[in-house]
Amino acid sequence: MPLNQDFVGRCFVADVPFQVGREHIRQFARAVGDDNPLYHDVDAARAAGFPDLVAPPTFLINAMPGTLGLPTEDEALGLDYTLVVHGEQRFELHRPVVAGDELVTSSTLTSIRAVGRNEVLVTTYRYDTTAGEQVATGICTLVSRGTAAPRS
């Protein structure tokens, strides 16, 4: 079943800001096997000039509303998440995210197009602090495998 094109152009924003926590940063850094002291040791981060623990660059993906910024729970979109694979991901980082940041994150579904039997969804991300500072932007491409309408 093809995805619902009515969702193209919609912007999704989490109901509450994403609070970046020290333990989440440590847990994420351990999960990617990264023992950089800036991600684990508050004193090391402060000595390096950061206000608190630094988040690894791809930590940003956690801050998106829904799943990778899409409302995968919304049946109207018609996305079967087990058929989804990640196609492309890009971040522009204006400064590293640090513990204590409160991020207002939003994603906009900019297109859904059929490529062969698959559908390709492109989403753009914005990350701003509650104080209005933009810390990063991103773009994500997901592939919904085998859901394109059959060609007649």
Partner: protein
């Protein structure tokens, strides 16, 4: 900690030391928990088979995070990474055994830009196949 590599020290063609990163099934489960991405294709053989995949595959973002380590470990200061993007060209299949999969990452300075910026191209392979394409990082160096 400031970046340990200066703009004047690198040339186009400067290589970043190649590294190998093991990924086992438990690492995928740990990443699912830390990232909140519980898509079962990343931990259930049954779900992966039903989705038509050759096996349980690593989260693309875990592969991307692994590739990013080559950069951040090389420059020392994560502030230096100002842009990073990848295309996921082939899945990293992680069998439920003691070996799992090994991801090999290497990098080379591809461009020197104005304003002390350099572009590094990364090559990320698993079982000889490129798992990331167009994998590029822009660094702001002192």
């Amino acid at each position: 900690m400031t970046a340990t590599i200066a703009y004047d020290e690198v040339e186009v063609g400067t290589e970043l030391p190649q590294r190998q990163f093991p990924l086992r099934r438990a690492d995928l489960v740990r990443y699912a928990g830390a990232s909140g991405d519980f898509n079962p294709i990343h931990w259930s053989d049954r779900a992966a088979a039903e989705a038509g995949l050759p096996g349980v595959i690593a989260h693309g973002m875990l592969t991307m995070a692994t590739a990013a380590r080559l950069i951040t470990d090389w420059i020392g200061d994560p502030r230096a990474l100002v842009e990073f993007g990848v295309k996921f060209s082939s899945p990293v299949v992680v069998p439920d055994d003691d070996e799992g999969a090994t991801v090999t990452v290497s990098g080379v300075v591809a461009k020197k830009l104005d304003g002390n910026r350099v572009v590094v191209n990364l090559t990320t392979r698993c079982r000889g196949e490129k798992v990331l394409m167009a994998s590029r990082a822009t660094l702001q160096l002192p």
